[in-house]
């Protein structure tokens, strides 16, 4: 991929519009969207009007529940509650979305997308930094897409909107300012297909969202020390392409899972367990995991609760049996120097 670099905002915005033009059943619904507080949807209200862009107010549960009702009737709502943290009141509706089809004998389909920002490193504090990936993974019937770069964001969003099932799409807010290349091929990226973002032979590192960027930066710093790191981005946690991860672990014999979600029962726990289940005889080291510490303090102190590049580097060097390498990589906005 080469050529011009595009910003995440402009790509998501363009993709939203493209999909809404393509299918007039696509409805964009949520809080503070007509004026597009986050910026994804600028120009969308102007182009499509109040019948396709519905301002709901801060009613997260009702907006998701209404989304389900509309989807059953053939619409394709995209619900935007602005932040993943704000989804907590909507968990009831989300669980219903997930189990609706199965518990009603497959008599309907719910093609809806819950589309919102997630993640920390901007110092926004404990209730604006959440990465509730596991919460979604733990609601059967919901798919979960977690893009890590501009190109994947485009392809995964298209798949999410065209999927006939409830899809949660979490876009890490640290990537909003990201600039990236777009591939010529702009077709939807299928769910359940992991992407090897960097090939390597000494260790398999699985990461999601913004952690992919951190792991790639760490891998680059470790390469001159003769440590070859393979970085795998699952792109979707549900469905999860564990086969690509297993194939990699069979090659490298070592695994590290890095995720920002609270480490207890985080996605890392699930992935690590599946690696153990499928590649036990290929493991030459115990699997390590790095995750968030849970409650994320505000301002620069969020670095204490979120995975840091040095932590990732140390985990890798200890697993491959190399000397510690000091990596100087910035992870978040340094608001204050303490």
């Amino acid at each position: 991929m080469s050529g011009k670099k595009y910003t995440m905002l402009e790509v998501v915005n363009a993709t939203l519009k493209e999909e809404m033009r393509r299918d007039d059943k696509v409805i964009y619904m949520g809080e503070c969207i007509a004026g597009s507080a986050v910026g994804w949807a600028s120009g969308v209200y102007e182009e499509f009007g109040a019948n396709r862009v519905i301002e709901t107010g801060l009613v997260e549960n009702t907006m998701v529940a209404a989304g389900i009702g509309m989807a059953e009737r053939g619409y394709r709502p995209i619900i935007d509650p602005m932040m993943a943290d704000f989804l907590t009141p909507a968990y009831a509706a989300m669980t219903v979305a997930g189990r609706n089809r199965l518990m009603h004998g497959g008599k309907m389909q719910i093609p809806m997308v819950i589309f919102t920002t997630m993640g920390g490193y901007l110092g926004l504090g404990p209730e604006h930094s959440g990465t509730p990936e596991t919460m979604v993974m733990h609601m059967p019937g919901l798919k979960l897409a977690v893009p890590s770069c501009v190109n994947d964001a485009r392809g995964l969003l298209k798949s999410a909107i065209r999927d006939n099932n409830p899809v949660v799409y979490f876009l890490h807010r640290r990537l909003i300012g990201d600039k990236g290349f777009l591939s010529e091929d702009d077709s939807p990226i299928p769910f359940g297909v992991a992407d090897i973002k960097r090939e390597g032979t000494d260790i398999t590192v699985v990461a999601t969202g913004f952690q992919v960027s951190l792991c790639l930066s760490v891998a680059e710093k470790l390469a001159p020390h003769g440590i070859s790191v393979e970085v795998i981005d699952p792109r979707t946690l549900v469905p999860l392409d564990i086969d690509t991860v297993i194939k990699s672990v069979k090659k490298t014999n070592r695994a590290l899972v890095v995720d920002e979600d609270f480490i207890t029962c985080g996605p890392g726990a699930e992935i690590a367990m599946q690696i153990m289940e499928h590649a036990f005889d290929w493991l030459d080291e115990p699997i390590k995991r790095i995750g968030g510490k849970g409650v994320v303090p505000a301002t620069s102190a969020d670095r204490f609760a979120l995975p840091q590049p040095q932590e990732i580097a140390d985990a890798i060097t200890s697993l491959v049996g190399a000397e510690r390498v000091s990596v100087d990589i910035a992870s978040g906005a340094r608001l204050f120097n303490y």
Binding site: H225, G226, W282, G321, E323
Partner: protein
């Protein structure tokens, strides 16, 4: 009864090989005669043909280092036989086996478990040991709590830890004198239980710029060099030849390249000259074998070939057999053929074995004139040619500018003393400074 895939002994001195590539996957079919396994033995690669047709069961994994004469695979005649090989399998870790010979390394066994007697090993290590037919009881672990890891199993299979499985006897290849140097080292390793788990080497506060693995050909060369210095008594004599005649001869020969169907190089001329000199001074064309100095009748000259575009990615020394009986053109053709094969990794054991003397030409690569070349055991001498350069020399009491060829001859002082070495050098000098009638004929023809 399944056919065994056994590592052959290649060349005189190979003792361990690396299994570079199994050509057929586990459980796959192979026909007799087809290549079943690629191996790298010290400096040669070899394609092993399957001894029979059938289904392959792999005992030693790709990448493992195994001793010669080791059974690394089995070819089952039928699916049932294959299934029984895999199911029952070679009873890899039956502790009842220790009727196994000699160095059972009892000291090591005590390290890889806690006081309760539990052994720790990684899943990968267990599988590799199972596939290679190695009893983990005989393997020391370098991981935490004496945990046995992949590197420990690989080391064990390299050192020939006795396996419980039937035919996997890993006797060291009987080699000539230099190999004896290897066994005290190996024995020492077996006798000492490794105390602490091997950890990453200390940097003593120095930052690392990069690391290169010390294995494969690099390691092989290094170990050969050390072995050589450990067994012989090297002495190096250095000097310079007046290369004017050779330069003139070469010009004329190059002009006749098409007619000769060969492009003669300086190197060819030097090799040819060396062969003549060895015939005239045969004492240096010998080896110390046991209590005897054997003077060889064959003159087989090894020529050093640097690999890689800059000649600095490894070194191979293929041999021109009976160089004294070859014409200059034949030597030229043979040298080119061997150099090409060396660079393509296609040298065979035949190409590599039986050398009696070595000529090394580093002149084209570097700026040096002299060096202290290291003998290729069990040879008695090696001459290294340095960079030809124009220099002022004295001729007929006058100073002239002439092309000068520096040389360094190392001889094994056990076999050949200085006088005998000088005797060779006289003959060599003569061949170089006044080319033979044969060369003259070629020029005039």
């Amino acid at each position: 009864m399944a056919e065994q895939v056994i590592i052959p002994k290649l060349g005189m001195f190979s003792s361990a090989v690396t299994l570079t590539e199994w050509k057929v996957a586990e459980g796959g079919r192979i026909e007799a005669g087809e290549t079943v396994l690629d191996i790298e033995a010290e400096k040669t690669t070899f394609e092993m043909p399957a001894p029979a047709s059938g289904i392959l069961h792999i005992l030693a994994p790709q990448g493992a280092e195994m001793d010669v004469n080791t059974v690394v695979g089995l070819i089952a005649a039928s699916q049932e036989e294959y299934d029984s090989l895999c199911g029952g399998g070679a009873p890899a870790s039956s502790p009842a086996a220790p009727a196994a010979p000699a160095a059972a390394a009892p000291g090591m066994a005590s390290v890889s478990h806690d006081e309760g007697g539990r052994r720790f090993s990684t899943p990968l290590a267990r599988r590799l040991a199972r596939e290679a037919g190695i009893d983990l009881a005989g393997v020391a672990g370098s991981g935490p709590n004496g945990r046995i890891q992949k590197r420990d199993v690989e080391r064990a299979s390299r050192q020939g830890t006795p396996a419980a499985a039937a035919p996997a006897a890993s006797a060291r290849a009987p080699a000539a004198v230099p190999a004896a140097a290897a066994s005290p080292v190996a024995a020492a390793a077996r006798a000492q239980p490794q105390a602490a788990p091997a950890s990453a080497p200390s940097t003593n506060g120095r930052a690392i710029r990069g690391t290169i693995p010390y294995k494969g050909m690099r390691r092989s060369i290094g170990e050969n060099m050390m072995r050589s210095l450990a067994v012989n008594a090297p002495n190096t004599m250095m000097g310079e030849f007046d290369f004017s005649a050779m330069v003139r001869a070469r010009e004329l020969l190059v002009a006749r390249a098409e007619r000769l169907a060969a492009r003669i190089t300086y190197s060819d001329l030097v090799l040819h000259a060396a062969a003549q000199a060895l015939r005239a001074a045969p004492l240096i064309n010998s080896s110390l074998v046991g209590d005897e100095i054997v003077i060889w009748d064959d003159i087989n000259i090894g020529m050093a070939v640097g690999l890689g575009p800059n000649g600095d990615e490894g070194l191979l020394v293929p041999v021109i057999r009976n160089a004294d009986r070859l014409s200059l053109v034949e030597i030229s053709r043979k040298a080119k053929e061997l150099a090409d094969k060396a660079r393509a990794g296609k040298l065979t054991g035949q190409d590599m074995g039986g050398g009696t003397f070595t000529v090394s030409n580093f002149g084209s690569l570097g700026v040096s004139s002299f060096s202290t070349p290291i003998i290729n055991p069990p040879e008695a001498g090696i001459v290294a040619i340095g960079r030809m350069a124009k220099k002022p020399i004295v001729r007929n009491d006058g100073i002239v500018i002439a092309p000068v060829l520096p040389y360094s001859l190392t001889h094994d002082h056990r076999i050949v003393d200085g006088a005998a070495a000088e005797h060779f050098l006289h003959a060599f000098k003569k061949s170089i400074e006044s080319p033979s009638p044969e060369v003259a004929e070629l020029i005039l023809a």
